[in-house]
Structures are given as structure tokens and as C-alpha cells.
Symmetry: C2
Subunit: 491 residues, 2 copies
Amino acid sequence: MIFKAKILDIEAGAAVAVLNEEEASRLNLSRFDRIKISNRQKEVTAIVDISRRYVMPGEIGLFSEVAELLEAKNKDILAVNCTPRPASLDYIRKKLDGASLSSRQIHSIIRDMMKGRLSEAELSAFISAFYTIGASEKEVLALTNAIFESGKKINIRRKAYGLHSIGGVAGDRSSMIVVPIIASLGLCIPKTSSGAISSASSTADAMSVLAPVSLKVGEVEKVIKKTNACLVWGGAGELAAADDRLIKVRYSLHLDPSSFIISSILAKKLAESINFFLLDIPVGRGAKIEKIAEGRKLAREFEKISKNLKINMKSIITNGASPLSSYIGPALEAKRVLEILEGKAAEPLLEKSITLSSKILSAAKKTRYAEARSIVKKQIKNKKALDKLMEIIVAQGGKEISSEEVEIGKYRKKIESKVAGRIKHIDNRNISKICRMLGAPFDKKAGMILCKKKGEKVERGEILFELISDSKERIENAERMLKIVYPIEIS
Amino acid sequence: MIFKAKILDIEAGAAVAVLNEEEASRLNLSRFDRIKISNRQKEVTAIVDISRRYVMPGEIGLFSEVAELLEAKNKDILAVNCTPRPASLDYIRKKLDGASLSSRQIHSIIRDMMKGRLSEAELSAFISAFYTIGASEKEVLALTNAIFESGKKINIRRKAYGLHSIGGVAGDRSSMIVVPIIASLGLCIPKTSSGAISSASSTADAMSVLAPVSLKVGEVEKVIKKTNACLVWGGAGELAAADDRLIKVRYSLHLDPSSFIISSILAKKLAESINFFLLDIPVGRGAKIEKIAEGRKLAREFEKISKNLKINMKSIITNGASPLSSYIGPALEAKRVLEILEGKAAEPLLEKSITLSSKILSAAKKTRYAEARSIVKKQIKNKKALDKLMEIIVAQGGKEISSEEVEIGKYRKKIESKVAGRIKHIDNRNISKICRMLGAPFDKKAGMILCKKKGEKVERGEILFELISDSKERIENAERMLKIVYPIEIS
């Protein structure tokens, strides 16, 4: 069959082509059926969509994904043939029916997904099945490998160490302190991170205030060679590309099957060529994981799969019930990290970073933990860690910078306590919501400064925290939000 | 926030609005987030999609559904506000977590779906959860009521009887014979049907050869008042509207949780104001249900839910292993029905129609089955059933017609047997595939005539069946298809 192309300059999230309703019915094609479209040498398997008015009989509407793959322009003449539905759909159906999938079948689903051959509705059923039915160790392993193979790999010709946090704790920029400490001791520690999904800032968001973080894989390899480390964005789908696509579908229902959390993180460790990493699982009220037993269970699942992938790892459960720093938001956190390394500030963040660094060092050098701690502390005190961070900043294309030079938002609003009492709880989740209302992480200069710590006494009228943003309107919006989302509880 | 509308004349399957990627990121909006869009008095909750190029900052792309609801034109200035995600998403998530949903929660999901507030990925997760986890009787009941309430109702001020088949048997036009028989006996029997989904023809497809079937609810009520019956298309989403939407999402993964099959059918019975109906479950090789135990289980589930809905019903398991008529395809089946009622042909279809009619009659009049059978047979013999069918045809806007006047496709190709032997099996599923390749149900005149019955002897070179179509190309395509999909097995 021959059709005239009508280009639709918008992404569909999959390879979708649109046929006229009457014509599709005449061809016995329904929505979600598959067709093969050819434009000279190029060929694509597309998912059929139906429209009453947008395309006329004889026309075929192409969403961006298909148009690009076919290199098709408006009014190009395309050949269209029916094609059987991808076998992946049978595998998804099989999983829904309660059967286990083989490694080959899981690879085939991820491959078809990357080619745009699976619709979001179909992917959603796939993830739902893993969520409701669960996954065997073999399935998680296959999923991890399939996600890893969908992207590129950072090549490092030596032993590499890593740190990964489950996240969810405001002001937790441990990586920005641990990485320079460990690298300053001659160990290799590459760190990639994604943009913040629900919090005020990720490592990459805060680091981007000090240096470029959107580096290609080849550039990252050069930075590591030069400095033993990097602090970059996992970005642009170069590493573990399939993960980005899966996260998009999981987003709206917050569907986080542990099989997907584990394979997402471990696929990235494979892509980073990591031999050993420390997994930080913050637990507590307001954190992603609220119960210790749940944190331990996750740790065990991680350890089993890592072993199979020949990645060494240790997990540590940390206190996730309060923020780790009083500065929250990308620029504020970057500023605080510099202050800590400059010896001008101490926060719970410093203590945690020392602990994590010492754990990594003692695992790498087989030294006792106490010994490792004293080595780590020395690297902070003698400013070797600060020097290393500057080295990394420069290698990534930035300039040396001191904490005073980091700019934060020009609008600030101090919030006073309406009651007297004692700080009972500071909620990480609510802090994230308010910081996002203030513009973080997109507005790097937005965020909050907390003026009180958990357990401290507070008088009526005393300042509890400060809202910071480059937009006055956002400050007002955040103030209104405080009426329903309150970050601090006083008893 | 103020945006300029950019209309996208294509359906998204839900209320979707597109924002520029950078701008969305600045507003902390992600795909699948919800926004409220207003255009003067009109207001819509839309699902956010993101595009890099199609919309510029300051613009908002509107798919047809949103544009229509807002009555928006290109360059209209629209107000946009953030809005919380619909509670339905939490209910879907709850079901995925294994909890049961309350009636109120299921109604809320179906209502939000009808307003376009749920994406296909979200609906797919909803259906997947019902599929993998199952549904309680209460949940199926709530689902049935919610689907029923999403559409209109045919008002009938007297007791109404019905017949429904699970389908899947080629040439099974029982309804077109049972309905006039029962109506000719003074009982009210409204029949609506959808278009064929996987078979060569539905009741509505075959009836459309004889009379208009796309009638509005008000017109259907008039036809019933006049004739005690109707044979129409359920159509245009007027009855049990939510069902159409759910079927679209279920299509590609063939996701048929029994909870959805049952609620779909019973919601239509509620919409048809049926008090008693007979459920025909064809079972056998090549039918939708292959095992008797499975058929019985489905019957029991149906009976439980019907009872709760105060619909009386009986089920009957019939032989679904062979076609019921040698004429297959909309016009061919309509022709055969007329021949049977004219007393010119007898097929297994006649015997089955007598059985089904007698079951309905004996349930309605509390007469013994044997007595009911003789009454039913008389209505065929004295042509009262034929007269009643003509009455229905005329009431729906058609003209009286005899079997000779029904036109079938002008291209015909006789297929000879390549071997001698005995007919071992005639496969309903494969017959449907070939008829659809010939153009059915869209091409009403396309189909097949079978020349042999199961168990009959056949010589080499004898004609097995005939392919019929109004397109020569389709005959050739179907012939090629015979190489892989063969409808008749000879041993």
C-alpha cells in the first residue's frame, strides 16, 4: 500500500503513525496494530493510531519519532505493509499471566521499547505486572543487564569505587564531599547522577552551579583520567538509556517496583565500570523509606543481585529523618559544601561524609575503620579534599571558586515562629515541596535556609527559616503553600 | 499563567495538552502532571505532555479532545493553573497494591476516564491490576454499574427479554432468528450489538445489509414500541459508553479479565432495560472458550453478578467447534437468515435458534420446554417470524426484502481440495481471519461459502469452499493467506 506522508512535528513517546479512521477500518487495522513503513532504504515498525479528521484516506500521519527514523518529509510517498505484532507483547502478556520471563524475553522487551515499538499503555502493563506479581532474582538480573546494554559505558582501566544514595534527605550532598576525599587519596571514584526527580536538588544540580556537568562519555573519561573522579550528569540517555524511558512511564502512578529501583541503579554502576560501591539507605520519617526493616530488606535484595553482576558492594542505613544541612537548594548546597571543605562550617553532612568516606576507604585498602577515619579527617583538615574538588571543577570546564562567590537568589523572606516550644520534627518531604515551589531545581539560586535544628528551643517570633528565590512571585506562592505544607513541627 | 493556544487537530485518546520542554521544566511540570485550562467559561483538567519543538514557550498545544471541550481556536489566550492529580490515580495505585476498591472509588475512576483525565498508560495499569490480582464480586458489581451509568438507557415500560452470545462461531446469526420469533409471540426483546471485533460479522453488521442499524436511543425506543423488538448497533457510545474506551486500551495486549467481560455485557443489559436474558457460551476448538470447565466457570460468575443487579438470566453451553452456517460474512449471513425464515434452507443455525428461542419462551411463560419448542417451530413454519423480521426492518427504516434480493460480492473463487479424505475440523478462528482478509465486515458483500460439512467425505479436486469479495485484489490476498491459515482439516 502507498501513502502520502503528513509530518506531525510532535513526539508521541513511541513510534506512532496515524491512519484515517475509515481507511483503517477498510484495511482491518485497529489502534495498536503494527505496520511496517518504508521510505527508500529506511524502514520502521510503527504503532497504528486512528484519526477521524487529521489524516485523509491515502495519507499517513507521522509523529516525530517515525518521521526522523524514516527521514521522511511532508508529501513523501511511503510504502506501508502489515506486520505481525512484536513477540514482546506476548512476553508482557505472559508476565501478566504470572509466568517468569527468560533473560532473552526481557532483553527483547527492552530492545523493542528502545525502538519505539511498544506503546506507553503496553509498557505500563509490563511495569504493573512486575509491581503486582514481583520478580525473581533472575528476572531482576536480566532487567539490569538489558538496561545497561541499552546505553554506553564509561571505560576505566583501573579499579573504580562508587557511592550511591537512595536519596530523599534534604541538603544531603555527601557525594560532593566523599568523591574529592576518596580521589585525593589516589582511588578512582566516578560519580554520575540524574536531575532531581522529587527533591530540591541532585548532586548534578548542585555541581552544575560550580562547573559544567553535561559531558559526553568521552569527555568524562578524560576528566577521570586527569583527576581520578568526576561529578557529572548521567545525562542525555547516554548511560543506561532504557532507564529514562521506564522512569517516564512509572512517573504518574509512582510505580516503583523494587525490581526496577535495583536494576536502574545497578545498570548505572555497570555503565560507570564500578567494582565496589557503598549504598546509602536513609531511613526515617519524611524519607523515602520510613521503616528500618524495609531498608534492610532492600539492602539484601541489592546485595544478591550485585553479587551476580560481580559488583562488590556494602550497604549502610543512615538517619533520614532530618535534613543534613541547613542550606537547601542547588546553589545553597554547593555553597555549603565549599564552606565545609574550607573548614568554615560543620553540619551533620560533614559527619556523614566522613563516615561514608571511611567505609569506602577501609573496604578499598583493607584498613581498619578507625584508621580510615583518621586518614579521611586529615584530607579535610589539610585542604587536600578542597584542592581535589577544585581540580575536578577545572577538569570539567569550570573555574576555581570559593564559597563566598556562590550566588544565591536575590529575594529572601524570613518566616517567624507563631508559637514557642521545641523543634519536634523537620520534614524532608515537605521541605522538598516548598523548595520546588520556590523554583528549585530549575532555578539554581532558589531554596531555603533553616535557622533551627531538631530538639532546639524556639521563642514566639523567632526566625525558623528563610525562603530564597530569584522570583518574587514564587516567594509569595511558597508562602501561601506554607498554609498546607509545613516543614517544621513544634511541640 | 497565560498561554497562547496551538490547536492540534488529532485525537490523543485523553485530554492532553502539550507544553514546551524548557518552560515545563521551569514550571516544575512533568509529563502526566495535571493542569487546569480555562477559556472564558469553559474549564478542563488536562494531562501534561512535553515537546521540544512543536510548542514554543508561551504556547500550549491542545489535542482535539481538549480543544473541543474548551471550544478553543488557534491563538486563543488561555489561563493555565496547576491542579492536584486526580484521586483516581491513588485508587489505581491502591488496587495495584492489592487492596480492594470501594464502589465510590471505582465510579470515580470510570468518571475521570470519561472526562479524559486518565492517560492510556494509567488505564492500562488499572486493567492490568484487575487482570493480575482479580476482582471481588463487589468490585465487578461496582464496575458494571459505573459502566452502565456512563451512557444512556433505552426506556421500555414492560418486561424485556434478551439473548447474548459470547461469540466466536462463524455464521452464528441466532439473534436475527430468535429476536423475530420471540417478538412474534408478543414478548419484548430489544437487541443491540457492537461491530465485529475479530470475526467476519456481528449481528449489527449483518442486519445493516437489510436495514439501517445506527439509530439514536429515542428512535430505538420507537421501533421497540412498534414491533416489540429491535436489531440495532449499540453504537456511537450512547449505551455503556465507558465500555468502548476500556476496550480500546485492552485491545493490544488482549487483556480480557473476566471482571471486564462480565461488566461490559451486564452494563449493556442494564442499558437495554433487560429483565431476563439467556447467555450463550459456545465452547470448543477454534471458539473463544475451548474448555467446558472454563465455560461453566464463566457462567457461574455471570449468574452471581446478574443476581445482584436484579437481572434474571440462564446460561447455555453450546457447541462452538464448527461454523453454524455455510454462509459467512455480513450479506451472506443476512441472506441465509432470510432463506431459513422463508423455509428454503436448514442449517445447524436453525436448530440452535429453535433451542435458544424455546429456552427464552419457557422461562418467560413458565411453559415446559417441549411445549415451548413446538410453539417456536410453528412461528417459523407459519412465517410469523419472517413477517416480524420484515416489520422490524421497516420500522428501522429499511424495505421488505427476500433472500434472492440480497447481493453478494461479484468476484468469486472456488477452492478445490488437494487431497481425498474426510473433513476432520472446520476452524472458526481461521475462517474469521480469511473473511477479514476478503474485506469483511467493512465490505458487507465479502465472505465465504463452505461447501462441505464436518464428517463429510471429500474427493481430490472437489470444491471445499468459495472466496467472495467485491475486490479482485482481496481474493488474491486471501488465496495467498490460505497457504498459512487453512480453515479446513482433512484426515
